[in-house]
Amino acid sequence: MTNAIEITDLSYRKNTKTILHDVNLQIVQGRVVGLLGENGAGKTTLMRLMADVAKGAKGTIAINQETDGTKRRGLISFTESLRGFRPGSKLSQIRDVYATVYPDFSAQKYIDLTTFLQIDDDLELNKLSRGTREKFIIALTLSRQAAVYLLDEPFNGIDSMSRKRIISSIIKWKADDATMLISDHYVTEIAALLDEVVIIKDHTVCTHKSSEEIRSQFGIGVEDFYESVYGGDIHDDEL
């Protein structure tokens, strides 16, 4: 099996404060992985380093064996906040920019996703509610036929009904060999999706296990496992 993500000895400091230290992580192609950790644990930073928008880290990051930042960006589809666009931009104009600059952008997938998420792309960005904006970001991110999807808290602000609908269907929007890394606080809701779980604690990858392993080894679900790791009920030597 080929690794989609391979991180070796990654350390990152900001203003002399350690954000990530000695991170080593391998994720095989095709998996859906939950990146879990408390606020400020470094989940977003790790994703931003993978996507080459955070700089100055030590260590190596390879996406499909590519370590060069530009090539990595071509392989990764990352949920971005769209703040680079004019607030008055129409969603269709943003779609056009994506279609222009990302060679892997699929117009058909975009139509399917916006239909599924009930987004009217004649609307302007600043007229969207927070939830609709997040849905649009998900639609844009998944419209790319990328090797790796990095979804950073993608369901924030989305109502619970839509959230459940998106989560239950998210798998069908990615190719079989595409890898999806999801960071989210709605652990219970995404748990059923996850093939594997990566927990970030104390600035590093504290554990990386498959959901099956968690069930068979500890006899608990993903959310309980996550809480036990953070709560100290499961000790480091047991991981």
């Binding site: 955070a54 990352f78 004019r86 104009q93 920019v97 600059v101 990302y102 060679p103």
Partner: protein, 251 residues
């Protein structure tokens, strides 16, 4: 990978919007000026050239707005996530700002050109008189005009690349140095900016004197242009290196 032309097109859109907005204000001011002329002096005082040739500070505002937009783009996830090298991203940002400003100048020049055309019969007589009265004009005044035009363009690009350099240094310093060292670097940058501004003013003063007194040879003019060009190339190279290694996207 994203090509330069694709990057250019995507980065052009917000800048095109800025320039269109500023041109709208410009045309609005021209129309208001024309109405003012008619109200105060009747149709006899109607002069499109007079109404359109005022600066109104719009050139400066457009320049600053384009600069701010360019610098925002350099640290925006939207653009930094695009699969293009930092060199392409930087040059696309710089060239869209440049082309946008030229577009602004071109439309203004066109309006003034129409005004000039309407008043040409009267103006040509005045110009002939002026020409016969001017005796102290340097013999190579056409060459000087071309030199000044090129120099203005190069200085404009220099201004953009220097703003980027300062922005990138401060961005890097804020991200990676502790608070105490940040202050020291910021003070040093402030001193260097003041020193560079003074040096530029002195150089421009000297240049103006030489040009007006015919003391500048063709060779000197070319040397000045080459120096301005080399400065741009060196600063752009530093900016691209900073962007590749240290400058993070902020939002």
């Amino acid at each position: 990978m994203t090509s330069f032309s694709e990057l250019f097109r995507s980065m052009w859109k917000p800048k095109g919007h800025i320039v269109n907005l500023m041109l709208f204000f410009y045309l609005l001011i021209v129309v208001i000026s024309l109405i003012g002329q008619v109200i105060h002096g009747g149709m006899g005082d109607f002069s499109l050239l007079k109404a359109s040739s005022g600066d109104f500070g719009l050139g400066v505002v457009t320049f600053i707005w384009l600069t701010v937009q360019t610098e925002r783009d350099y640290v925006s996830d939207t653009y930094r996530l695009m699969p293009a090298s930092e060199a392409k991203q930087y040059l696309a940002g710089l060239s869209t700002a440049f082309v946008a400003y030229l577009y602004f100048v071109a439309v203004r020049s066109l309006v003034m050109g129409v005004g000039l055309g309407l008043e040409w019969p009267r103006l040509s007589v005045e110009l002939d008189q002026l020409r016969s009265n001017l005796t102290g004009l340097p013999h190579n005044w056409q060459m000087i005009a071309v030199f000044v035009a090129l120099l203005v363009l190069l200085l404009m690009i220099n201004a953009w690349v220097y703003v980027s350099l300062i922005h990138f240094i401060l961005n890097t310093v804020s991200a990676f140095l502790p608070a105490g060292q940040q202050k020291v670097v910021k003070v040093v940058v402030a001193i260097l900016v003041v020193a560079a501004t003074i040096a530029l003013s002195v150089w421009l003063g000297r240049l103006q004197y030489q040009l007006l007194h015919g003391a500048s040879s063709t060779v000197n003019m070319w040397v000045d242009l080459v120096v301005a060009l080399v400065t741009i190339v060196v600063t752009v190279t530093i900016n691209i290196c900073l962007m590749r290694k240290w400058v993070e996207a902020k939002y």
